[in-house]
Amino acid sequence: MDEHLDSIALDELRRGEGSAAAREHLDSCEPCRAEADSLAGIVQALRDDDDQGRPVVPPEIDRQVLEVARRRAASIRAHGVIHRHRWLRPAVGMAIAAGALLSMRLSFDALPSPGSRAEKASGVAVTAQQTDLDGDGRVTILDAFALARQPASPSSEIEDERKRSVARIADLAVSVERGA
């Protein structure tokens, strides 16, 4: 290799990539080695600069993000696949969530039968007794946990239904909370 290395080739060598011929040239060519050194200096300067301005992420943010992760993981474990209304535009999703919430509020006063507006609107078949398990008047992820923690039934059918319900409640709680 007679020609000097271009900057892309020097960059590849910096990363331990590039051809044997290029490496050989670099080892024996003073000007290319000087170029390689200057590139290394530039890279170091960019890295130092990037490190400097970055804020420390407050633990509160970590906690919030990881809470979302925990909920998502719990839903997956409970149900495998979450049937979200991904195809809905946010405004439509919001309207449905609002409708579901309203129906549930109403249903706490007059216990509804299956097939309430909430079910039809959100596609989540749940009743008031099944959703607000801790009786705090709201459907939250805690209700899903409460159902998941109940003693196991020897009937596999009941167990399956319970798992499905945990997932539905978790899903509903998450979508209501997110307003989507």
């Binding site: 960019l46 600069d49 990037d50 970055r54 804020p55």
Partner: protein, 179 residues
């Protein structure tokens, strides 16, 4: 449990099965980088932290059923960028003169012979800066940068080539000033 050497693809597999520690592993591994990218694009601290939360909420929303076809950062980069543009759009303010597009005015000359990264970046165009940072700071392969930016690899190479030339020139000037 996660260990530092576990590939993203394995963490993604476990997250798809509902393993909370895998979600946490992905978050801890890429958290600071997401904040960095947001700030490079021009976000201030608070916006960068909002973008961090939104980006990971969006990522987690892809599970189960998320398939990783390249490095996770290749997926996250456009997601961060999208959120930053969204914040700007929502505010309907004049597009803020972001660091990526409009470099800060050069400060006083450095008092050591150390090359100042900020000054080097200030000599680049937005596109050159983006490529230079993804390559030199984030260490992404050229193909992954192309995927993240949705441009051909040849374009990445030519931007990188131009960026190196410009930064070399700037570094040479500041070295002369120091001497």
């Amino acid at each position: 449990m996660t260990n530092r050497d576990e590939p993203d693809a394995d963490l993604v597999d476990r997250a798809n099965q509902g393993d909370a520690t895998a979600f946490e592993g992905l978050y801890r591994r890429h958290r600071d980088w997401v904040v960095s990218v947001a700030m490079r694009l021009g976000a201030d601290r608070d916006d960068a932290l909002d973008i961090l939360q939104e980006t990971f909420a969006h990522l987690f929303d892809q599970f189960p059923g998320f398939t990783l076809t390249s490095q996770l950062r290749t997926y996250l980069y456009p997601a961060v960028k999208h959120r930053w543009l969204d914040i700007q759009r929502r505010r309907r303010t004049r597009v803020r003169l972001i660091r990526l597009i409009s470099p800060p005015p050069p400060g006083p000359p450095p008092d050591s012979d150390r090359v100042d990264g900020g000054r080097l970046l200030a000599t680049l165009t937005a596109e050159q800066r983006e490529v230079a940072l993804l390559r030199f700071v984030d260490d992404l392969p050229l193909g992954e940068i192309a995927a993240a930016l949705d441009v051909p690899v040849g374009t990445v190479k030519s931007r990188l080539h131009a960026a190196i030339a410009a930064m070399r020139a700037a570094a040479a000037v500041s070295e002369k000033k120091v001497r």
